[in-house]
């Protein structure tokens, strides 16, 4: 990246005025060059610009340098689309159209994202008039035509206890030609609710962005506000937060292994992991009273301590639980009836994963070593690095393996951290956010990279809160993984990604 980009660290506040404001062609040139050279887009979002125009900001990952590159431009009603050249941008450009009415001209897949109300008055990019119709009816589905082609529509209300989304399969017999996923049903208006804060409501809303990632999002938020206030959480708080983040990862990864087993009909691992997942949720409840870690992480530190003797008892229970997980996983990966379903199913090859900009276990299962804990580390990860788990095959087996390996690394990390909790205070007072500043705070949640980009206005209040859930990067990966698969393998493929609906829909 050239000098026309402001380099910042994750969790470092910069003056908004220092972010280079480039002409559109220069801005797009830098973004396209960076992405085609193998960099990743972390965020790419609109914001209120001068005279009713839109300020478009790109956050590009410079993983090798442990930094992000920031650059902006001003756009109005249309921009040339980069999505054909850089598929990782396709959903970001559609979001820009939906939120700010900026039409990406020449976009290969120009569809609504989450059916939210526009942030700026003006013509609708899809030419819709009046109140929006219900989602599936108002969506331009891709259709395969032919006498032997049939369509399968599923959702938004699904068979299990799952969040809503609509899946449309174009099938030839059992084979899936194409899967299209329509989301937006979960849109709660989170980003706009956060503007004007921080206030007493902010943390509860952040924890509810995705309830299974309450710790991850609360941590990314806390680190953003700490950066804007110019403080750091004390070492003991940082250690307890990392323990909670890894417990969240353990609970979800173990649950997902059980879920994959359930969808295969392999009951031993399904039953065992369903119950063992609770051990890690219960550990979070021991720490803070809530099984999902709500109420633990606050800007400045944590609200609950863990005395040394309790830490030792908790560590002993977790060690025993992990042994059981390892045993349940062993029979899973050894069973021929399992491998027959998972090997070679739902493959995302490495070049495709890179093109789409996948993150999290989905990326690492396709050979991409992206993990915020290694590439943008903060305390205590900088001092106690966690090994990154990578597989090459990109199939369901690989995604399951990555989860198991990561969970094992998290279990070891929790043991080591609980055995050596630093002394000291739990909270530091957080001064009000400094005005006219921008911070990008990255945390490796269990699904992958969580990005909280926060800009303050001249009054120091939050003027724009851009959330990027890892699922926002990854949903297209699932859609493409289904091509050429049996439709009966969809639940299995879906579970192996286990993406967030509400995290995407915001």
């Amino acid at each position: 990246m050239s000098g026309r980009v402001l380099r910042a660290r994750s969790g470092e506040a910069v003056r908004t005025a220092d972010v280079p404001l480039l002409p559109l062609d220069g801005f797009q040139g830098i973004v396209a060059d960076a992405l085609t050279a193998g960099s990743r887009v972390v965020a790419y979002f609109g914001d209120a610009g001068p005279d009713g125009a839109v300020r478009l900001t790109a956050v590009l990952a410079d993983d090798g340098e442990h930094a992000v590159g920031l650059l902006s431009t001003v756009v109005d009603r249309a921009i040339p689309s980069l999505a054909a050249e850089c598929p990782a941008l396709q959903l970001f450009e559609r979001e820009l159209a939906e939120q700010y009415g900026v039409v990406p001209e020449g976009h290969p897949w120009p569809k609504p994202v989450r059916f939210e109300r526009p942030r700026r008055p003006g013509p609708d990019p899809w030419g819709r008039a009046g109140p929006l119709e219900t989602i599936p009816g108002a969506y331009p589905f891709f259709e395969v035509e032919g006498e032997e082609v049939h369509e399968v529509a599923v959702g938004p209300v699904h068979a299990g206890i799952i969040e809503p989304g609509h899946f449309r399969f174009q099938c030839h017999g059992e084979n899936v030609f194409h899967l299209e996923i329509v989301l937006g049903y979960q849109h709660r208006g989170v980003e706009r609710l956060l503007e004007g804060g921080p206030d007493r409501r902010t943390v509860a809303r952040i924890e509810s962005v995705a309830g299974d990632t309450a710790v991850g999002n609360a941590l990314a938020h806390a680190r953003a506000l700490e950066a804007l206030g110019g403080v750091e959480a004390p070492p003991r708080a940082a250690a307890l937060r990392a323990v909670a983040l890894e417990l969240e990862r353990l609970a979800n990864h173990v649950g997902d292994l059980g879920g994959i087993a359930t969808d295969i009909g392999f009951l031993p691992t399904s039953s065992a992991c369903g119950a063992l997942r609770a051990q890690f949720l219960n550990a979070l409840a021991e720490l803070c009273g809530n099984r999902f870690g709500r109420g633990l992480v606050v800007p400045g530190g944590v609200r609950f301590d863990l005395p040394a003797d309790a830490a030792a008892r908790l560590a002993a229970r977790l060690a025993a639980a992990w042994d059981q997980v390892a045993a349940a996983a062993r029979v899973f990966f050894r069973a021929a009836s399992v491998r027959n379903r998972t090997d070679g199913t739902g493959v995302v090859p490495t070049p495709l994963a890179r093109q789409l900009g996948l993150v999290g276990p989905a990326a690492r299962a396709s050979g991409l070593p992206v993990d915020v804990r290694a590439t943008h580390p903060f305390a205590p990860y900088a001092a106690r690095p966690i090994p990154i788990s990578v597989q090459e095959a990109g199939d369901v087996t690989a995604r399951a393996r990555v989860r198991l390996d990561e969970a094992a690394a998290s279990a070891a990390f929790v043991q080591a951290t609980l055995a050596a909790l630093p002394d000291g205070p739990l909270r530091a007072p957080v001064p009000p956010p400094r005005p006219d500043a921008l911070v990008v705070s990255l945390v490796e949640g269990w699904r992958g990279e969580l990005c909280h980009a926060v800009r303050t206005g001249p009054d120091g209040r939050i003027a724009r809160y851009k959330l990027v859930d890892p699922s926002f990067h990854d949903w297209m990966g699932l859609q493409l993984a289904l091509r050429g698969q049996q439709i009966s393998d969809f639940p299995l493929c879906n579970k192996s990604f286990n993406l967030s609906y509400c995290g995407h829909d915001l």
């Binding site: 989450r114 939210e116 209300v157 969040e163 979960q186 509810s208 039953s271 119950a275 609770a278 008892r313």
Partner: protein, 268 residues
């Protein structure tokens, strides 16, 4: 095969003792709050100023109450109160049949009334439910899923979540009811044959929770499914699986009385 059987034996019996024996909760678990308004200093509103969801009603007066329909059980009010007027107990029983009953004023247990005899006869031994997430964050959904695992084992009471509203005796709604799910929620309710139950789970479904007042949501089932009576409200953010079990079993008359059976986990 031998390895699989060995693992199965090693796992042993996992189902919790509740409702015949105690349910074990961590020392820090925040269940039903107990209020002592006599301790309130006139004019003090520290609890309300700390609450993220406007759950504190009439702070600083003898009429102090906590609306569990809005409460996310974060404990911020307890932390902020200088007089100790609010204290979260570990009583996991939180479900009630009507919305006003969720406003807690003293230290009495919350025990949901059972259905009338006719409905109990219909559903008491076999209840099939359809779940609809209408903006839920996957917290309530995860705990509802957990009620079906081998620990909580909802199936042992004849309660089951089914794949179609046509097969269901009622719907369980989570989330603040987003505008984008409003139509699908109503269609699902209409597709469920009468007589049918509506159960609202979690702060979002009861009051909008952390998303109350959002222009993209309808403040829960009462706002998002107007004209449809709710039969059971189960508070929490999310409610613990045992809180869900307690609410459902009391509704069906399968658990009665006010004896609280609480066990410790022994970590803290």
């Amino acid at each position: 095969m031998i390895g699989i059987l060995r693992e199965r034996l090693r796992l042993g019996h996992q189902t919790i003792a509740y409702p015949d024996g105690p349910a074990r909760f961590p020392a820090r678990f925040r269940g039903r709050p107990a209020l002592d308004p006599a301790r309130c200093a006139g004019g003090c509103a520290a609890c309300a100023a700390a609450c993220p969801t406007d759950a504190v009603l009439r702070p600083g007066t003898s009429e102090l109450a906590l609306d569990l329909g809005a409460c996310v059980f974060c404990g911020a009010c307890e932390e902020a109160c200088p007089a100790g007027a609010i204290r979260f107990t570990r009583d996991y029983r939180l479900a009630m049949r009507t919305r006003p009953e969720l406003a807690v004023r003293g230290d009495a247990p919350l025990l949901a009334r059972a259905l009338d005899e006719r409905m109990k006869r219909l559903f008491g031994r076999s209840l099939r439910l359809r779940q609809v997430s209408a903006g839920g964050c996957n917290g309530c959904e995860a705990e509802l899923n957990a009620t079906g695992n081998i620990q909580f084992d909802l199936g042992r009471f004849g309660i089951q979540f089914v794949a179609s509203p046509r097969h269901a005796d009622g719907i369980v709604v989570t989330g603040p009811v987003t505008e984008n799910m409003r139509a699908a929620l109503r269609t699902t309710w209409e597709a469920t044959p009468a007589p049918k139950l509506v159960i609202a789970v979690g702060a979002c479904a009861i009051s909008g929770g952390a998303f109350a007042g959002s222009p993209a949501c309808h403040d829960g089932v009462d706002g998002g499914l107007p004209g449809v009576p709710v039969d059971l409200y189960i508070p929490g953010c999310p409610p613990h699986p045992v809180t869900l079990l307690d609410g459902l079993l009391r509704l069906l008359g399968r658990v009665e009385g006010d004896r609280l059976q609480l066990g410790d986990t022994g970590v803290l």
